[in-house]
Amino acid sequence: MPSSPISPRSPNSMGRGVKFLLPLLAALSTSAAAETLGDTESGAKIFARDCAQCHMVGPDAQNRIGPNLNSVYGRRAGGIDGFQYSKSMIRMGADGMDWTLERLDAYIENPRALVSDTRMSYRGLKDPTQRHDLMAYLRNYSDSPQNIPEAEPTALRTAPDLGPALSPEILALQGDPEYGAYLSAECTTCHLRDGSAAGIPSITNWPADDFVAAMHAYKSKLRPHAVMQMMAGRLSNEEIAALAAYYAIIQN
């Protein structure tokens, strides 16, 4: 990818010492791009090695020992008319199981863990990298989200932008909503509880993870806004978690 003309958030502009540089760059590189599912070329080889004896994929694919795998993403389990599936596969389909990314991942890892009596005699692919490469290869033969927006995703979601100060430990903190209710008095001076948002944004029912990420971004001055930088600046990690827990669940 050719370089773009500006480098987002150059470390210098943060006005911090060299010590800060490494973790910041690490955080940036993870937040810059979502992860693709895997390497389709490697996936093609795995398909040839492990799957092609029974399954076909591509323009002329037909059902053989196994069903063809075109449009498998989003397909109802046992969903090809006239193909002889196992009883358990048909039952899964009747119960509403569609082939999502997560389910295909689980099924390829250990088929019988998902569908007890599946006819697919495959021991499973334990290596997650290989599995994701295979899934990336297969994904190319299913609906494109550009044309069918509801089609299964083509990449793995990244964690919300954490900012330099935010670690997984902080995100995992379980806040105490009661403490949050107490602390929220400081917020309600400006932010109306009923969710109306004239002039000041509503923070009512904000999902907790987004709330925590936003407060830490103010705290680290990654987000602009002098008042919010000040307010968030003196909240501890636990206090932010508590506020987030409270605001995520309040009813009007």
């Binding site: 050719p2 773009s4 003309p5 500006i6 810059a32 693709t36 069918i148 083509t154 990449a155």
Partner: protein, 418 residues
């Protein structure tokens, strides 16, 4: 072809309708071509968030922008034509954007300037192209834009939509309405099918013995199960879809005799809505930023892959997984605005996050939606999570979904035009 500065200054006083454009402010200038979902949004965000630090110029030939979104609801009788129109007045008066009513005809990338139909040349520091779509020539044999007054596409906003509405209203009792649906990719994936629903609703009330023929080159389409379920419930027997297996991909139209020829067989119809294959609006190819039919962009910024001073937004782009929709164009505009301000004013550039939701109305109070969120990967804007309404949902949920769409329309048009 770029005019020299001297010529440019002398034509200025003679021909320029909006003299503000030429004022030498010394500020970095962003020229935005196209005042639609992408262009109006980015002009507004650039002006609003840079607080006067940027000189923002918006070039758009129309005085009023008529949205394509909700134009199907106008066909169904749920919206007035007037409600689709939005003026650029506030962008000029409240946001200080120089709105130039003109048409961009040339881009000189070396000189960093845009030439307008009036002959004026405008220099830029960054150029944003959001020209929407044009149609691929000869995509439907027998049809060309010269025939659009007989067989309207109604796939760009404005008078075409009115024409199609008038033809529907004038259709004889028991007549046949045909639609030729486009191949992928095209703007608004559920758009043709929402239109079929709204046309059917109109006929159910006004012309109950009318027939609708949908000729479709695609095997599957967005929200298919939802539309088919809704058509069976609300409009039983009225709609026939001819998919590619039945010859829906091999079609010819004869505007002179109002015939369509499917798989070699001619049939006379009363109204024919031809939605041809699409490509980026002409100016993108003129600027040399297209590869094939669309303009490739970097997924983290909407910056053209061909020129680091040009951004492309909305339907005209090839970006990856986002559908061509007003919501997408609006979402992309905010990412690009953030990036441009970072480049020109040094403001913070936040990571790109995109989203889209498309609502469709199937019948009164029967609304459905599809949506996804997207993140840039190294190669493209990739879908990372998606959702869609389910078949068999109860009436209350469908009504709530429809009402949500009214809120969205109010929201996005405010986000575009202030």
């Amino acid at each position: 072809m770029a005019l020299s500065r001297r010529i440019f200054l002398s034509t200025l006083t003679a021909t320029l309708a909006a003299p503000m454009v030429m004022a030498q402010t010394g500020k970095p200038r962003v020229v935005v071509v196209g005042g639609g979902a992408g262009g109006a949004t980015i002009a507004r965000y650039l002006a609003k968030d840079s607080k006067g630090a940027l000189d923002v110029v918006l070039i758009e030939p129309a005085r009023t922008y008529y949205t394509c979104f909700f134009s199907n609801l106008y066909l169904g009788g749920f919206q007035t034509y007037e409600s689709l129109g939005h003026s650029y007045g506030k962008l000029a008066t409240e946001y200080g954007i120089n709105v130039v009513q003109d048409y961009a005809v040339g881009v000189d990338r070396d000189a960093k300037s845009v030439t307008l139909a009036s002959g004026t040349t405008l220099s830029y520091d960054r150029l944003v192209l959001s020209p929407g779509i044009d149609f691929v020539e000869n995509a439907v044999p027998g049809w060309s834009t010269a025939a659009q007054h007989i067989m309207p596409h109604a796939y760009k906003g404005g008078s075409q939509t009115q024409l199609l509405q008038a033809q529907m209203a004038a259709m004889p009792q028991g007549g046949t309405f045909a639609m030729v649906a486009p191949p992928n990719p095209y703007r608004c994936p559920p758009g043709p099918y929402e239109r079929i629903s709204m046309v059917a609703h109109h006929f159910k009330t006004n012309n109950p013995t009318a027939k609708i023929l949908l000729i479709d080159p695609k095997e599957t389409y967005s929200k298919q199960a939802l539309f088919e379920e809704g058509w069976n419930i609300h409009y039983p027997g009225m709609i026939t879809r001819i998919g590619p297996d039945m010859g829906g991909g091999v079609i010819e139209v004869r505007p002179d005799t109002m015939e369509i020829v499917v798989d070699g067989e001619a049939e006379k119809v009363d109204v024919c809505n031809v939605i041809p294959a699409q490509r980026a609006g002409n100016i993108a190819a003129i600027a040399g930023v297209t590869d094939g039919n669309w303009a490739p962009v970097h997924p983290d910024s909407m910056l053209s892959k061909a020129d680091e001073n040009i951004y492309v937004l909305g339907d005209a782009t090839n970006q990856g997984d986002m559908p061509k929709s007003g919501f997408s164009a609006n979402s992309q505009a905010k990412v690009a605005a953030n990036h441009i301000r970072g480049a020109l004013t040094g403001s913070t550039v936040f990571p790109a996050k995109y989203s889209n939701t498309c609502w469709s109305l199937i019948a009164p109070d029967d609304g459905v939606k599809v949506g996804a969120s997207y993140e840039p990967t190294a190669e493209k804007i990739a879908s990372v999570e998606s959702f869609v309404s389910q078949t068999g949902e109860d009436a209350a949920l469908r009504k709530a979904t429809y009402e949500e769409s009214l809120g969205w329309y109010a929201g996005i048009t405010t986000d575009m035009f202030g």
